[in-house]
């Protein structure tokens, strides 16, 4: 017997974008319903990032450069990573819950909807703290003094590309739950490692580790390449980032869809939202 085809609305990229925008608007309204909690998350994330940067500020007050990196370079790197991680959290906050959804069989509700499962699952939630990351990220980039208004299109491309790679990695890591079951904490730690590596100057890493940072744990495309693009925008760097984003996104979608074929229902009644 042929398996039943799941009817999915296919109204092209503009339709998907409209759907994503509607999900974001709904999440934003839900978050704003608790204004004090929303404001606190945004504000405290900004404070969090500023306090963490005291370390770099104190360190770079004592040395001019670390393997050629000045404080301004680190501010750009920090700003790009904060803004992209924040953008990812604000728009696709559901990635962090993907492993649990898969392992608990909670994708059932999404499978009954006439929309592709992955965008729906990742867009289900929003992390208000992500907006705090975006604000502090932009503040770090401005503070660096390395970016004039002419570079802002490059900043937008760098943050978007970095966010796409970051989200793609999250989808890939958490999708391992299709094969390995309860791997949420391990996937989360892998994702945190990606952020950790992205926040330190590239020349600190060499050899095999450097190779890993441009392949299996692509901190290079979350932090270093986008930061290079902002500091020195060239068509080559822009193409490199766009290509890497497309490849990692395609890989993540492929892994998720392959896993979805193995997905078995949790047979449990639940609601989502």
């Amino acid at each position: 017997m042929e398996p039943l085809e799941r009817p999915v609305v296919n109204d092209g990229y503009t339709g998907h974008l409209r759907f994503a925008a509607a999900l974001f608007a709904t999440n934003l309204k839900a978050s704003l319903a608790q204004r004090a909690a929303f404001a606190m998350q945004v504000l405290f994330m900004i404070v969090n990032n500023m306090v963490f940067f005291i370390f770099w500020w104190a360190l770079m007050n004592r040395v001019d450069t670390i393997r050629g990196w000045r404080i301004g370079d680190i501010q750009v790197l920090f700003g790009i990573v904060a803004a992209s991680v924040g953008l990812a959290g604000a728009v696709t906050g559901g990635v962090r819950h993907l492993g649990r959804l898969i392992d608990n069989g909670e994708l059932d509700t999404l499978l009954t909807q006439p929309r592709p499962v992955l965008p729906y699952a990742v867009g289900l939630r929003m992390q208000p703290s992500g907006l705090g990351d975006v604000i502090s990220g932009v503040a770090f980039i401005l503070w660096s003094g390395q970016v004039s208004w002419r570079e802002w299109p490059a900043v937008a491309l760098a943050v978007s590309g970095s966010a796409v790679v970051f989200v793609a990695c999250g989808v890939a890591f958490f999708s391992l739950a299709f094969w390995l079951g309860p791997i949420e904490s391990v996937a989360r730690q892998l994702w945190d490692l990606l952020i950790t590596f992205s926040l330190y100057p590239e020349p600190l890493f060499g050899g095999l580790l450097r190779f890993a940072l441009f392949t299996i744990l692509p901190a290079g495309f979350v932090g270093y390449v986008p930061a290079d693009l902002v500091r020195d925008p060239t068509l080559g760097r822009a193409s490199e980032l766009v290509l890497a984003s497309a490849v990692y996104l395609a890989l993540a979608i492929g892994i998720f869809n392959r896993g979805l074929r193995r997905y078995t229902s949790g047979s449990r009644f639940g609601t989502f939202g």
Binding site: A37, M40, Q41, L43, F44, M45, V47, N48, V51, F52, I54, F55, A58, L59, N61, R62, V63, D64, T65, I66, R67, S129, P182, I183, S185, V186, Q189, D192, L193, T196, F197, Y200, P201, P203, L204, F205, L209
Partner: protein
């Protein structure tokens, strides 16, 4: 007295057994620890190349970081468990038990700590030895280990205090991020407090953070028996302050508790 201690020991044993079963998370922490130490080993090598005047050698800095990171990673973040218990309303069932709820949470945390700390300490020493090719005198490590575990317990108690704020705030995530970063800076997680600007050095002694992070780790940098004794007193003092604060917070929290649903 023995009966009361037995109840808390039971909480400790159960959470220890659970932590031993959840090996994935423990191994994840070990991997995270190795990577972090590798990153900082590279960073301090680069800083030394850049000509930063350090009071100690870069290899001692890596050992310092190994100990501070060990304390931070071994202390279980109990605030998330407390937040979940408050959010789900489980707290109501737990409050009815004939034990102190905060004491039970602390005992559970100690169980997790005992399961994690030895493996992470071994990882810290092994990695630091590999990255630096040097091992501090064994007698110093024998002093650092128990004081470090006491510091982990105090860090955990501080996390419980943050968790109790969930009774009022619901979500303690934002407070915990800032608390954690304050601990990193004022505790000297990433570099000794001496290297920070004057305002950080001025504020730090009025917080518990140096007592739980930089002072235990600094025992590796400056071998000094007097400092170890002073640290014991400081841990006892901050432990007392924390215990009194937790008791006060919990009494206020239980009075303010409102549970929805049934």
């Amino acid at each position: 007295m023995t009966g009361r201690a037995g109840k808390y020991t039971a909480f400790l044993r159960i959470s220890f057994a659970q932590a031993r079963r959840a090996r994935g998370e423990l191994y994840g922490r070990v991997v995270f620890f190795v990577v972090i130490l590798g990153v900082f080993s590279s960073l301090w090598t680069a800083v030394a190349e850049a000509g930063m005047p350090l009071a100690v050698e870069p290899r001692a800095m890596v050992w310092y970081l190994a100990i501070t990171e060990w304390i931070v990673l071994s202390a279980p973040p109990m605030h998330f468990d407390i937040q979940e218990a408050v959010r789900r309303g489980d707290i109501v069932c737990q409050l009815g038990r004939p034990v102190s709820w905060v004491g039970a949470v602390f005992a559970e945390g100690l169980g997790l700590l005992i399961a994690r700390a030895p493996l992470l300490f071994a990882t810290a020493c092994l990695c630091a030895a590999i990255f630096t090719g040097w091992v501090p005198p064994l007698r110093v490590l024998m002093v650092v280990a128990p004081l470090g575990i006491a510091a982990c317990a105090l860090v955990m108690a501080l996390w419980i205090g943050i968790g109790l704020l969930a009774f009022w705030l619901g979500d303690v995530g934002p407070v915990s991020w800032v608390w954690q970063k304050l601990m990193f800076v004022f505790g000297g997680l990433l570099m000794p407090i001496d290297l920070y600007p004057a305002f950080v050095r001025g504020i730090a002694p009025f917080t518990p953070f140096p007592t739980v992070l930089s002072r235990p780790a600094s025992l590796l940098l400056h071998e000094n028996g007097g400092e170890a004794a002073a640290l014991v007193l400081s841990l006892a003092g901050w432990g007392t302050v924390t215990a009194v604060t937790l008791a006060f917070l919990f009494r206020r929290a239980a009075a303010a508790l409102t549970v929805n649903g049934g």
